[in-house]
C-alpha cells in the first residue's frame, strides 16, 4: 500500500477512477443477479399458478351430488307388461318413476312450471342408473326401495357452492324454489356428495354429470400401444445402424439431417401427412387408434432415435473391442453386449417419447379423432378419442360441470405424465453407469 501511494499521480488517478466506479459496478452486478433470479422465480411462479388453478378447478369434479329417493318401480308407470324381455326393459319409462318419486317427496308442488323445475334437480343419467339396476335384477319390478341417484348439473353446482346465490333470481339458472328444495333435502340428509365413480366408468356424454373419461383413457392406451409397438423397434434399429455400422457418407449425412429436422417439424404437419397418406390414400378408418398410433409413432421416432444414439454412444469402445477380440461378429457385439448396456438409456428415452405422444393433440385432430364418441373403444379400428382431445372438446363447452371435468381430466393426464417421467428418472438413476 505504501508503495502504491508513492507511485506517480497518473497511476493514482487510475486507481481512483476504478474505486469511484466500483460502487456503481457492484450495484450493476447485484441487479444482474436479481434479473436472473426474477426470471427463474417468474417461470416457476407461473408453473405453480397453472397447477394450483387447475387443481382448484378440478378437485370438485371428483365429488358428485346424489339425491336419495324412494322409488317404486311399478310396472304401470314403467310401461311394462308381465315378464318383459330385455328390449322392453331397455325402453321402459324410468323417467316416469323418478318424477313420481320426486313429486311424492314434495307433495306441495302442483304447478306445471314448478314441476318442471323440480324434475331438473335430477340428472338425466338417473334413469340409466335405474335401468341398469332393473336389467341386472328384474325381480325389482313392483318393489319400492330407496336409491341414491345422481343430481343434475345445477343442483350439483349449488351443493359445491359454485352457484352465485347473491345474483338476482332472473340471472341465475338455478332458481329460488330449487334452492329451497335442495335445502329441505339437505336438512333431511337426503342429498350428499360422494366420490364420482361415473367420471372413471363412463365415456363421453352431452350431460356433464354423466360424462366420464373412460373412453378417452382407453383410446389413449390403444393409441400409445400402437405407437410403442411401431416406434420402439424401428427407432432402436435405426439408432443401432447409425451409431454402430453406418459408414460416413452422403446417404448417412442425409439421414442424420432428416432426423434432426423431423424432431423440430411442427406436430400438426404430421397430422397433415396422416390425413393425406393413411386416410385419403390407404383408406384406413378415420378416428381409429391405429391411424393415431401410426402418426404419433412417426412423430416420436426422431426423439427416441436421438436418445438411443446417445445411450449407445456412452457405452465405451473397450467393450466392443473385447467382444470382437473374442471372435464375436459385429452384430453379435452389438446385440449381446452393447445393446444390453445401453438399454436403460434407450428405455428412458422411449418413455419420454411416449409421454410426449400421450400429451399430443394437434395431429390427432387432423385424422378425425375429434368426433363425439360415447362408447369405450375395444379394438384398434374402433372410432376413439384420446385424453388430450377429450380435454380440448370439453374445454369448448359452456356448462359449469364441464369446466370442472376438463380440469379433472387435465389432472388425470398430468398424473400419467408425471408417473411416466418419474419412472424414467428412476430408471436413469438406478441403471446409469459412469464408465
Amino acid at each position: 500500500m505504501n508503495q502504491e501511494s508513492q507511485q506517480p499521480s497518473s497511476r493514482g488517478s487510475a486507481t481512483e477512477l476504478v474505486r469511484a466506479g466500483l460502487k456503481r459496478r457492484y450495484a450493476r452486478e447485484k441487479r444482474f443477479r436479481l434479473y436472473g433470479l426474477t426470471a427463474i422465480f417468474g417461470s416457476l411462479a407461473f408453473l405453480a399458478v397453472l397447477i394450483i388453478s387447475i387443481t382448484v378447478r378440478g378437485l370438485p369434479a371428483f365429488q358428485q351430488t346424489f339425491i336419495q329417493l324412494d322409488v317404486t318401480l311399478d310396472a304401470g308407470t314403467l310401461g311394462l307388461t308381465d315378464n318383459p324381455d330385455n328390449a322392453a326393459l331397455l325402453k321402459a319409462n324410468y323417467n316416469g318413476v323418478i318424477k313420481k318419486a320426486l313429486l311424492a317427496s314434495f307433495p306441495d308442488v302442483k304447478k306445471r312450471n314448478d314441476k318442471k323445475a323440480l324434475y331438473k334437480l335430477m340428472s338425466k343419467g338417473a334413469q340409466y342408473d335405474l335401468q341398469r339396476k332393473l336389467i341386472a335384477d328384474p325381480e325389482l319390478i313392483g318393489q319400492s326401495k330407496t336409491y341414491w341417484l345422481p343430481a343434475g348439473d345445477d343442483a350439483n353446482g349449488y351443493m359445491k357452492g359454485i352457484v352465485d346465490t347473491t345474483l338476482p333470481e332472473k340471472k341465475r339458472r338455478f332458481k329460488d324454489n330449487q334452492i329451497a328444495w335442495v335445502e329441505t333435502l339437505k336438512s333431511e340428509k337426503r342429498i350428499a356428495q360422494r366420490f364420482n365413480k361415473t367420471f372413471f366408468e363412463r365415456g363421453d356424454s352431452r350431460e356433464p354429470e354423466m360424462a366420464g373419461i373412460r373412453g378417452a383413457l382407453f383410446g389413449s392406451i390403444l393409441t400409445l400401444f400402437v405407437t410403442l409397438m411401431l416406434s420402439f423397434p424401428v427407432a432402436v434399429a435405426a439408432a443401432i445402424y447409425l451409431e454402430e455400422f453406418a459408414p460416413k457418407n452422403k446417404w448417412t449425412d442425409l439421414i442424420e439431417v432428416n432426423i434432426n429436422n423431423l424432431a423440430a417439424v411442427p406436430s400438426i404437419v404430421f397430422g397433415l401427412l396422416g390425413l393425406a397418406v393413411f386416410i385419403n390414400f390407404f383408406h384406413l378408418p378415420r378416428s381409429a387408434p391405429l391411424v393415431g398410433g401410426l402418426v404419433l409413432s412417426l412423430m416420436t421416432l426422431p426423439t427416441i432415435i436421438i436418445s438411443s444414439r446417445a445411450a449407445l454412444k456412452s457405452v465405451p469402445p473397450s467393450i466392443r473391442d473385447a467382444a470382437l477380440g473374442l471372435g464375436a461378429s459385429r452384430l453379435q457385439v452389438v446385440f449381446h453386449h452393447v445393446l444390453p448396456l445401453a438399454l436403460p438409456g434407450i428405455l428412458t428415452g422411449t418413455i419420454i417419447g411416449m409421454a410426449q405422444a400421450l400429451g399430443e393433440t394437434a395431429p390427432l385432430l387432423m385424422i378425425g379423432m375429434v368426433a363425439f364418441i360415447v362408447d369405450v373403444p375395444t379394438s384398434l379400428t374402433d372410432p376413439a378419442t384420446v385424453l388430450p382431445v377429450q380435454i380440448f372438446q370439453w374445454a369448448d363447452l359452456p356448462e359449469k360441470g364441464f369446466v370442472e371435468r376438463t380440469s379433472a381430466a387435465i389432472m388425470v393426464l398430468l398424473a400419467f405424465l408425471i408417473a411416466m417421467n418419474a419412472f424414467a428418472v428412476m430408471l436413469r438413476r438406478k441403471f446409469e453407469r459412469k464408465w
Binding site: 397453472l50 434399429a237 445402424y241 400438426i268 404437419v269 400429451g359 405424465l417
Partner: protein, 462 residues
Amino acid sequence: MNTSLLILLICVITALAYVMGRTRAQRYRNSGNPADHPHSLPRYYGYMVALWAGLPALLVFCLWTMFQQKVLTGIVAASLPAEFHALPSGQQDLVINDIKNIAIGNMSQSAADSIRADAAARYKSLIELAVWLKAGLALLVGMVGLLWGLRSVFPAKRARVFVERAIMFFLIACSSLAILTTLGIVLSVLFESMRFFGKVPFTEFAFGLHWSPQTPIRADQVGSSGSFGAVPIFAGTLLISAIAMTVAIPFGLMSAIYLAEYASKSVRAWVKPLLEILAGIPTVVYGFFAALTIAPLLRGVGESIGLSVASESALAAGLVMGIMIIPFVSSLSDDVITAVPQAMRDGSLGLGATKSETIKKVVIPAALPGIVGGVLLAVSRAIGETMIVVMAAGLAANLTINPLEAVTTVTVQIVTLLTGDQAFDSPKTLAAFALGLMLFITTLILNIIALRTVRKYREAYE
C-alpha cells in the same frame, strides 16, 4: 377366418420353422463327423428357416390386406349396369358406399333397390371368398418357405452370415424411414397444394389481404364465394410469435445465465428439472389455461385502465405460448453457455471485471451464435404451435399489429379448415394443405439455419 387368427397361425409356422431348422442343424453337430460340423451355431439355422417361412407369408398378408378393398370395389363396380358408369364420379362413390353399407348390414336391405342389393350380395360373397383365399395363400406361402428353408440347412451353409445380412437390411431400412417420412410429408403437402394453386392463383394466396375461406357447399348456393389472401394469417402468426418471443427470450436467457454462472450445484439440480416441467405440460393444458384464466384476467385489467381487450386477444395466446417456450430457450442457451471455455472467463476475471461484466462482455458474445440458433429453434416452435392458439386465439383474420385484438394463425386455420364438413377436394380443405406447405417450408428453413449455427458453434469450441 379372422385376421388375428391368421397372424397367430403365421407365428406358429414361424416358430415351427425355427425349431425344425435348429434340430436339423443340431443333428449334424451331434453326428461327430468333423466334415459334417455346421458352419454356424444351430440357432442361426433356426433363425434362417424361420425367416424363410415367416417373411414371405407376412408379405402376402400385408399386400393382400392393402389391396383387397380396391380390387373388390373395382370388380363390383365393373359388374354394375351402364347407367352407373355414366354417373359423375362423386355419385359413383356414393353408390359404392351404399353397396358396402348394405353388405356390412349398416343399411337395411329393404331400403335399397334391387341393383344395389344384388351388388351388395355379390360384394359380400366376394369378401368371404377373399378372406379364405388370403388365409390359404398366406399359409401356403409360409409352408413352402419353410420347406425351402429346411432344404438349405446343410453343414456348409453359412446361416449366421445369411441371418446377419437380413438383420442388417432391416436396420438400414429402419434408418431410411426418416427420409421416407420427410418425403411423405413433402409429397402429400405439395401434391394437395398444387391442386389448390390450380384453383386459386399463387399470387392471390401470397399477397391477398382478405381471407374468408367459406366456399359454398352446393353449387347453387348463393353468398360467400371464398377468398384466399393469406397475408392477414401470416401477420397474425408473426404477431403472436413475436409476443411469445418477447416473453421467452429474456426469461429463458436470464434463467440460463443464472443457472450456468451463479447457481450452486444443488440449486441447479433442483431448478433445472422444475423448469423443464414447463416444457412437458401438454399444450392443450396451456390452451385451456390461456382461454379460461389469462384471457379473462387481461380483459379485466384492460377494462380497469380503460382499454378494450378482445376476449381472444393475441396477447393472451402469445404470453402463454412464451411461457411454454421458456424452457426451450433456457436449456439450449444453458448448454451453449456451459460450453464456453473456462479460460475465457478466467482471463476476464483476472483483469478485474466483475462477474456480470464477464458474462456480458465475454461469455455472451462468445456464446452468441449458439444462443441465436436456440432462439431460432424456439421461433420455429412458436410458429408451429397449435393447441394454444386454437383454444385461445381468434378465428377471424384481422390484419392488425395491435396485440389487444383477436388475430388468427396458420395453425388455427389448418385445424378449422380440416375439422369441418367439406368435400375433400374443395378449395377450402385444399387451402389447409397450402398453409401446411408454407408452415413446413418456414419451419424447415428456420431449423436448418438453427441446427447449422449450433453445430458450427460446437465445432469452434471442441
